[in-house]
Amino acid sequence: MLDIDKLPKPFLERFSALLGDEFDQFLRNLAQPSENFVRVNTLKVPLKDGQERLAEMNIEAMPLPYYPAGLRIRRGHELIPRTVDFALGYFYIQEGASMVPPISLAPKPNHLVLDLCAAPGSKTTQISQMMGNQGAIIANDRTFQRITSLGHNLQLCGVSNTIVLHEDGRLLPQSLSLKFDRVLVDAPCSASGHLRGKSPQFESPNPKRLQGLQALQKGLIKAGFRLLKSGGRLVYSTCSLHPEENEDVIQHLLNQNPEARLTKNEIIGLASHPGLIEWENTHYNDMMRHCLRVYPQDNDTDGFFIASIRRS
């Protein structure tokens, strides 16, 4: 469990500035053990059957208000990986907030979807589930070891509408001649939203590391946008709450691409905060309020940032 007294001072100062009145609530939430979630893999088992199977095994599960196939496990989560149903791929362990970007992406069964940073495949398998294994997904990742876990999870979940690529996402527009209806850029990040259940040795990322990550994130979102069809939707997400990895990156895209438009991101049942309009003397585009900042105290999940962008 995270010892909040041992959090670095710069981290505390930063989140106090970000959260204002809610800072104490945020800290109290971080001190709690992490919650457990699973997704019912409706590619293999109908949702109702999945819920009933958990109940039969005396596992108490509550559907997430924003995504019925996502379940918060109240009791018996340790039993799930030992079940036959889990071995068959009926359930997939996935953090509650990590299910939000695919919801925001809203893929349709006839869509061509690009998941630019796909490994280990939690969101790819969820997207495929939302598409009913129809249409097509190009799932890319540049890390070879992570491609292995991506392949394993696609197989486990029974995903058959995906082609896996192993490329640097930033270079993909040079080798792919396709244009996509939906692009997910779930970018590598400092994971500053993923704090609950962490060891007390947590260290705040130094500015140099944030700079490096930001350069990568800007490159990825730029590549993703280049591969987006006119009228298509790109979702950018990170499990970080640092504005440098989020609003800064979105602003960079908006500055470079006049045809990029931030769109409203309403997800019924999900509590969230709007994106920042201002941070440390930087003023962002007013439409940045359409982005979602999901803080741990909002839904009792990890923190996440999600932006939905349309190419006009």
Partner: protein
Amino acid sequence: MRSKSTVNLVVDDKWEKEVWGLLHHQYGVSQLPGYRLLRSGRKRIRIISEEAFKLVTQVPCAGPAGLYFGEYRPHAIRPSMDGAQLIGPYATKGVVIITKEQANNWLQGQSIEIKDDQHGYVIVSDGHRFLGCGSLSKGVLLSFVPKVRRPNKQ
């Protein structure tokens, strides 16, 4: 049409027909609408949705595509765990039903004895779910459940 699309994925209509023919012979499944088959290497079969199939030849340096469906063995198809789950609901033959207790042992990789005079690769079910594929000979059902997919006992 027969074209090599990627490093080791092959689109081969004639071969695909042959595989469906064997699946029909073994399990009574002559096609799954909306799916196509790809050859990976010499023996491995991958199953892929129709729309994704159309892209296989357009995407450079593609890695794995679709789902690992099974192996093309001499005169028979040996479905993977997920391939068996996919065709199981449509199978009209080549299915054996085992008890819950037998299923627990079989999923741990153990061979089990059953009263069934079928022979060859069969789809295994516990009556509620399709569990995978086994080889049945003289009443002994061998398990092909990969180690990584066996339910964790601890």
